[in-house]
Amino acid sequence: MEPTSKIHIENLNVFAGKQQILNDINIEIPRNKITVIMGPSGCGKTTLLKCMNRLTDLYPELKVTGKVIINNKNVLDASEDIVKLRQYMGLLSQRPYPLPMNIYNNIAFGMKLKDVKKRRDLHKQVVHYLQQANLWDEVKNRLREPASRLSIGQQQRLCLARGLAVNPEIILADEPTSALDPISSQYIEEKFVELKNDYTIVLVTHILRQARRIADYVVFMYLGEVIEQGTVDEVFEHPRMEKTRQYLGGTFN
């Protein structure tokens, strides 16, 4: 394993019944970079992302084999403490799912699970992460309101804040801007670029321009297989594979 890679994926296969969703995936995801996984809908991007923190456990029809190694631990190994491993990884999903509690507790929830903190520390942290996600000014007077009353763009920023609050090393983002307005989307993109100094970011997207704008490393997937991977210049400027060229050129069918 290269020292610069944060996530090492080896011979990953995922089956749903007899259908193979991911076919022998091998990827090195570099540390402190934005890695974009792109490809047409249904190519297995989201499934790949869910393998990384083993949310595939929630889908009884999926059978996963292979290795996903993070910090020298195989996430897919059943004997590993997955609850602990998941704390290395924050998740931003397609649609925000605020926890059924107030805004303050949405942020505090993960921190309280990790270790019991003094109330004053907790409050300081909540404020800090809400500021990090650029949400503080909008919610500082309504911290005790249910999080479901926020707009969807605010909810997505709340999800980002609560994800950062558990102090992960990796951020997994599954088309995090697909439900957002352009301004919120732009904000999330800018935030990712800023965050990559401290975090390793894996972003799933089907928006080519977004990939182009913020990616350092690109993985192109098609029908459950990795067609091509490399730096953003390599993949976008000098694609080696015919499929990648077609996809980037919009002549894909």
């Binding site: 923190n53 009884p60 609850v83 990884m89 924050g90 998740l91 999903s93 926890l99």
Partner: protein, 270 residues
Amino acid sequence: MVIATYSILAILALIIFSIFAKGIKALSWEILTQVPKGGYYYGKGGGILNAILGSLSLASGATFLAFIIGLPVALYINVFLIRQKKVVILIRFILDLVWGIPSIVYGAFGFSMMIFLGIQTSLLAGMLTVTLFILPIMIRSMDEILRTVPIGLSEAAYSLGSNKSELAFKIFTRQTVSGIITAILLSFGRAIGDAASVLFTAGYTDNLPNSLMEPVATLPLSIFFQLSSPVPAVQDRAYASALVLTIIILLVSLFSRGLGKRYHKTKINF
């Protein structure tokens, strides 16, 4: 279809109308606030307070027990067994099956258990029997509510480092709180309205409920005994009792519907 629909509606309306029409005549302050005096069932004075309080305490106790047993079961099915699809299907099938067992069978089972354990007809025995009777209703209705929790919410909670119990008790219960209350009220409605399961187990008495180990009166049985009376005035009182029972159930179901509405409102509020 038109005939079927309206004739059924008409018949149901007739039932409610006859309860109201006959019951309202006999309904009085005395009936609601007094226990039966000697010779009550032959037309002498008194009321059905024993049955009202008896039914309320029995149904509340049974609902409470069924809730504290049922909630963990429903959570277990929806959070812990998520990968064991076949087991879940089997559990749901069994629960649906026992839901359909007539309450008299629960009564008979409760009675045989009482003999086995050496307990007499009492509030406790009735409560335990009714608990068994409403458990499938309680579990399955909570189960149906918990199934509506979106998988994305579980993913979010797991990603924040919660384990299965924390997901169950801190997220699932909060997300579905009004739905769970609806399930409780639904079960309460079934518990208070059933006669057959308490017939052998709770017994009957003219006294107010004062001990878990003594028999207790219930509204359905009170209706039965008053209707069996040859005196028309007592039969009318049976309708008054039925009216009281109907109103209790009506209030409970209105309340639960109101909560259900609120639940749906919060659910689609994204």
